[in-house]
C-alpha cells in the first residue's frame, strides 16, 4: 500500500510517501519545507516562507514530491496529522489532505502526532512490533510514556508535569551559550566533559509514578552557574556542565522507563521524538535493556525520523489503513488538543 503522509502540526511543513506491506513500512520519498526552494517552486510569487506559514509551502511541497516520478505514483490513502498542535497550522495539512483524498478518490486517515512519533521506529524496520510495547516519546514539546497493547490501542502511563526533556536541553544550552538546537549542542560539548562534575537533581526519580519534571533541573543548572560563578564561555566548564546536565536528563528518562517496562512486562521498547536522536540516551537504553530487560526488543528510530516529519505520519497511516480505519473527508477536523490516550 502506498500512503501519502502530511504533517503541519507546528513548525515544519512536511510530506512523504511510504510503501507498507505485511506489517512493514519503508520510505519512498520525503520532503520538508525548509529543504526546498519555495521561491523557485512558487515562481517567485512568495518571496519568503516564514516559519509556520504552511499555507504557502504545502502545495509546492506536494507537487515537488510527486514530481519526482515521471508518472504520478498510485496512492492508496492519504494520512494527515490532525492533532495535537497549533490549530491554524494543523488546518493547513488537514484541509489539503481532505482535498487530495476527495479529488483522488482515495480514503483518508487521521493520525495523532504523538502516534506518528511512536511509529517512527517502524520505518525501514523488518521485524513487526511485538506487543505489549512501551513507548518513550521525548522531544522539545513532549515527554510521554505510552503503553501500546496493539496497533491503535494506547494508554498513557506518565508524562511531564512541566517542561519537556528536549526543552530542558534547549534552555540549559542557552544558559551555557551553546546555541540552537540545544540537544545536539549539549551532546557535542558533553563528549569532552565529566558528568560527575556538578551535582544536579534527578527530579521525581524516586516517586512511585511514571511522570517526569524537568523545570526544576533547568533551574538547578541556572543556580549552579550563578552560585558557583561558572565561566560558561570556558569550553572545559561548558563541557563538564553539559555532561552533568545530559547525565541527569538521561538518568531520569531511563530509570523511570525501565521501571515501567518491568511493571508492564513489555515485549518491545520504542523510543521516538527529537531527543531519541541523543547518543547518550540511546547508549544508556541499549545497555539497560540488555541488562535488565532480556528478550525485550529495543526499537530506536533512524535519527532522520526522530524530529517532526511526515514519514512517520504516513507510517502510522499505513497501520490504520491496514485495518481500514479511515475517516470521511467531510468529518475530519483539526484538533489542537487531541490526546492520543
Amino acid at each position: 500500500m502506498r500512503i501519502l503522509g502530511i504533517e503541519t502540526s507546528c513548525d515544519e511543513t512536511a510530506v512523504a510517501l511510504v510503501e507498507g506491506k505485511n506489517g512493514r513500512v519503508r520510505e519512498l520519498e520525503s520532503l520538508v519545507a525548509s529543504q526546498i526552494d519555495i521561491h523557485a517552486a512558487t515562481g517567485g510569487v512568495v518571496p519568503e516562507v516564514a516559519a509556520r506559514e504552511h499555507v504557502s509551502a504545502i502545495i509546492p511541497l506536494v507537487s515537488t514530491l510527486l514530481g519526482k516520478w515521471s508518472k504520478r505514483p498510485n496512492i492508496d490513502a492519504v494520512a494527515v496529522t490532525a492533532g495535537p498542535g497549533l490549530f491554524s497550522s494543523l488546518m493547513v495539512g488537514v484541509e489539503t489532505a481532505k482535498a487530495l483524498a476527495f479529488a483522488w478518490g482515495v480514503p483518508l486517515v487521521r493520525v495523532n502526532h504523538i502516534e506518528g512519533h511512536l511509529y517512527s521506529s517502524a520505518i525501514n524496520f523488518d521485524a513487526p512490533i511485538k506487543f505489549p510495547a512501551l513507548a518513550l516519546i521525548v522531544s522539545g514539546g513532549h515527554t510521554e510514556l505510552i503503553l501500546m497493547k496493539s496497533h491503535g490501542s494506547y494508554r498513557l502511563i506518565g508524562r511531564t508535569k512541566d517542561d519537556a526533556a528536549g526543552e530542558c536541553f534547549d534552555k540549559t544550552a542557552q544558559m551555557m551559550g551553546l546555541g540552537y538546537p540545544g540537544g545536539p549542542a549539549i551532546a557535542k560539548a558533553a563528549l569532552g566533559g565529566d558528568p560527575c562534575t556538578y551535582v544536579l537533581p534527578r527530579p521525581m526519580l524516586n516517586e512511585k509514578n511514571f511522570d517526569f519534571s524537568f523545570s526544576g533541573l533547568k533551574t538547578a543548572v541556572l543556580y549552579t552557574i550563578r552560585n558557583k560563578h561558572l565561566a560558561v564561555e570556558d569550553p572545559k566548564i561548558a563541557a563538564n556542565l553539559s555532561a552533568s546536565t545530559q547525565a541527569a536528563i538521561v538518568e531520569v528518562l531511563v530509570e523511570k522507563t525501565i521501571r515501567a517496562a518491568l511493571k508492564f512486562k513489555i515485549k518491545t521498547f520504542i523510543v521516538g521524538g527529537g531527543v531519541a536522536g541523543n547518543d547518550a540516551l540511546r547508549a544508556a537504553l541499549v545497555s539497560r535493556v540488555k541488562n535488565n530487560l532480556p528478550g525485550v526488543a529495543l526499537r530506536l528510530p533512524q535519527k532522520r525520523y526522530s524530529t517532526d516529519n511526515a514519514v512517520m505520519i504516513a507510517a502510522a497511516g499505513y497501520f490504520h489503513a491496514a485495518k481500514k480505519d479511515f475517516i470521511s473527508p467531510l468529518k475530519i477536523k483539526a484538533d489542537p488538543n487531541w490526546e492520543l490516550v
Partner: protein
C-alpha cells in the same frame, strides 16, 4: 497600580496567582517577563488552578500557544471561557504569533491571554496589558514579583 512582592514558596506563588485570577473579567492580557526559571510558568500554573482548569499546564515553549477551557461552576463566577497560554521564547517576529491566531485571542472578552517572554514581542502587547515581572531572589527558593497595571 504597581506592586512588588517577595515570594518564598510555591504556595505563596499560588496565592498571588489566585489574587490575580479573582481580578480578571475577560479580555485582559497578562504580559509576563523574567529570565529562565524566574517563575513565569509556575505563576500560570497557579492561575490555571485558580480558574478551575483541570488539565496539567505544561510549558508551551515548543507548542507556542495552548488554550484551556475555564472550569465550570466556579465560585465566584468567572465571566470568560478560556485561558490562552502563549510563550514567545522561540519567536523571532511577532508576526509568527499572529500567523497562528493570537490576534483573535488578544482582547477577546471570552479569553484571558497570558504571554510569557512578552518582552520579545512588544508590538503585540496592548497598552493596557497587566505587566508582571519575575526575578530570582536572594536564594534559590525566593522570587521577586512586580505587577504593573495602568
Amino acid at each position: 497600580m504597581k506592586k512588588n512582592l517577595t515570594i518564598k514558596s510555591v504556595r505563596e506563588m499560588n496565592s498571588f496567582a489566585f489574587a490575580v485570577a479573582r481580578s480578571l473579567k475577560g479580555g485582559e492580557t497578562l504580559a509576563l517577563t523574567g529570565e529562565l526559571g524566574a517563575g513565569k510558568t509556575a505563576f500560570v500554573k497557579g492561575l490555571a488552578k485558580a480558574l478551575g482548569i483541570k488539565q496539567v499546564v505544561q510549558s508551551p515553549t515548543f507548542l507556542l500557544m495552548k488554550c484551556y477551557p475555564i472550569g465550570k461552576n466556579q465560585e465566584p463566577r468567572i465571566n470568560f471561557q478560556a485561558l490562552c497560554h502563549v510563550d514567545a521564547y522561540r519567536i523571532k517576529n511577532g508576526r509568527e504569533l499572529l500567523a497562528i491566531g493570537l490576534g483573535e485571542k488578544i482582547g477577546n472578552p471570552q479569553t484571558v491571554t497570558v504571554i510569557e517572554w512578552a518582552n520579545l514581542v512588544p508590538e503585540l502587547i496592548p497598552k493596557n496589558a497587566i505587566k508582571i515581572k519575575f526575578e530570582h531572589g536572594r536564594n534559590d527558593t525566593e522570587r521577586i514579583v512586580s505587577i504593573n497595571h495602568s
